[in-house]
């Protein structure tokens, strides 16, 4: 039994912190443009597979900590994370049934929705960024879904 399976909540926090670090590690500009939203992906996985642990509060706190890191307008990531988490929770029984590739497509549309929400709030608060680069991480994020869900499932395996 994996030691993480005994303390799922601790595990979710540790993975969240790791994702936060990955979101800020310096990368060359081109790779930076492709950088997937690690924390959001992790949050979606916990909300999908372990809704008791990856609850809305977890999503909100994850979003808020991302806000603390990025610090443009406080609360914008928190808002977007809660909306995404709500959708995942609402449909989690259905999405779980999907084969992994189809799940990746659902995740991609969620990532796009996230970017759209940020785009929208940025526009309202007066820092609009219009460019195709904004929509790239949804693709890399969807591509990362398969290895990520495999990895996280492995560490939370019960037997």
């Amino acid at each position: 039994m994996s030691p993480f399976a005994r303390h799922p909540r601790l595990f979710s926090i540790a993975v969240g912190l790791l994702a936060l670090l990955l979101a800020a590690i310096p990368l060359p500009h081109l790779l930076d443009l492709l950088r997937p939203d690690f924390l959001l992906l992790v949050m979606i996985w916990f909300a999908l597979m372990t809704p008791r642990i990856g609850g809305l509060t977890y999503a909100w706190l994850a979003g808020l900590s991302l806000d603390a890191f990025r610090g443009l307008v406080l609360g914008e990531n928190a808002f977007a994370f809660v909306v995404i988490a709500y959708l995942v929770h609402y449909f989690h029984l259905r999405i779980r049934m999907f084969p992994l590739t189809q799940q990746a497509l659902v995740v991609m549309s969620l990532l796009w929705l996230y970017q759209f929400l940020l785009f929208w709030i940025d526009g309202i608060t007066g820092h609009p960024i219009t460019g195709w680069a904004r929509w790239l991480p949804a693709l890399t994020g969807a591509a990362l879904w398969l290895p990520l869900s495999g990895l996280l499932a492995r560490y939370t395996h019960r037997s």
Partner: protein, 308 residues
């Protein structure tokens, strides 16, 4: 698929309405945060706290880069250090010569100003800071520096590197400060062409190697290789600091305005050490600062015109 506790007790349908309620509460809370942060300064303490909480993690991300710096400094060969030392000595001599001249010029300038009855140009003090190696937002050109309110920084201070204007401070945390670069798409800086004194505005384009000057008429006297310096308007940057060099002037007969772009003088994507200049005292600014204009100063230098 699920291997955690909830496999035993299925996620009941009755929880869905509770889910909706909780989502509504949290969304409301987030919107309240966004509005409060956007509207005023009410969230300063919250922001400070969050910034302080994020500090250890930010340091952790920066750690490999600073460890590399440290290793480089402590392991570099005796020979290369000697070479560096001699070149530095040479450049120090040259600059001290220039400084001597500058001191007399400054004195003369002050005397002339008193003769004219003009206000003395405010003396600037500078504070050195190091850029933390952290990627803040891939779409924006912002960096985090290792000095904050604790070191006496405030929002709206000009930041320069060894070659020219770098940006200005935006959000000040206790230990760290966010700096918006000249090249951020939301940044605009009042500039002047050194050769003939034409004043205009240089805007960021989201690219560390390019600034755009969107408000020059097609017949403006501007050429490639003209030097841009700050004009001193706007009350954030002192006059006369180098900003960049014109690299492209495109006069399309169909357009009323010329398409002009410049290369920033500062090494926006490479600099590690920067200087934060003291803010220009607000007393010398023309209109008294109301809360709204104060916000505009502390926010990234606001755009004059709607974004493209």
């Amino acid at each position: 698929m699920s291997r955690l506790n909830e496999a035993r007790t299925p996620y009941a349908q009755s929880r869905v309405s509770a889910l909706g309620l909780r989502a509504l509460i949290l969304v409301g809370l987030s919107i309240a945060l966004i509005v409060a942060d956007y509207r005023g300064q009410g969230l300063n303490t919250v922001r400070r706290g969050l910034s302080l909480a994020a500090y250890p993690l930010q340091r952790l991300v920066d750690a490999p880069a600073s460890a590399w710096d440290w290793a480089n400094a402590s392991l570099s060969a005796h020979r290369s250090l000697q070479d560096e030392n001699t070149t530095l000595k040479h450049s120090a001599q040259e600059s001290s010569l220039k400084l001597l001249k500058l001191a007399t010029l400054e004195e003369e300038n002050q005397q002339l100003r008193t003769l004219l009855g003009a206000k003395p140009a405010s003396a600037e003090s500078a504070q050195a800071a190091t850029i933390l190696q952290i990627d803040l937002d891939r779409l924006r050109q912002r960096v985090l520096i290792d000095q904050g309110a604790h070191d006496g920084l405030t929002a709206g201070q000009p930041v320069i590197d060894a070659r020219g204007v770098f940006g200005q401070t935006v959000t000040v945390g206790p230990m760290t400060t966010e700096v918006i670069l000249l090249s951020d798409p939301g940044h605009a800086i009042p500039v002047q062409i050194e050769r003939n004194g034409i004043r205009t505005v240089a805007m960021g384009a989201g690219d560390a190697h390019r600034l755009i000057l969107p408000y020059l008429p097609r017949n403006a006297d501007i050429e490639v290789n003209d030097t841009l310096v700050t004009s001193g308007l706007g009350g954030v940057f002192p006059a006369g600091l180098p900003v960049g060099r014109i690299v492209e002037v495109n006069r399309d007969p169909a357009e009323p305005l010329a398409l002009v772009s410049a290369q920033p003088a500062a090494a926006l994507d490479r600099a590690r050490h920067i200087l934060v200049l003291s803010a220009i005292p607000t007393a010398t600014l023309a209109p008294p600062a109301s809360p709204a204009t104060q916000r505009a100063v502390s926010a990234p230098k606001t755009r004059a015109v709607a974004p493209r």
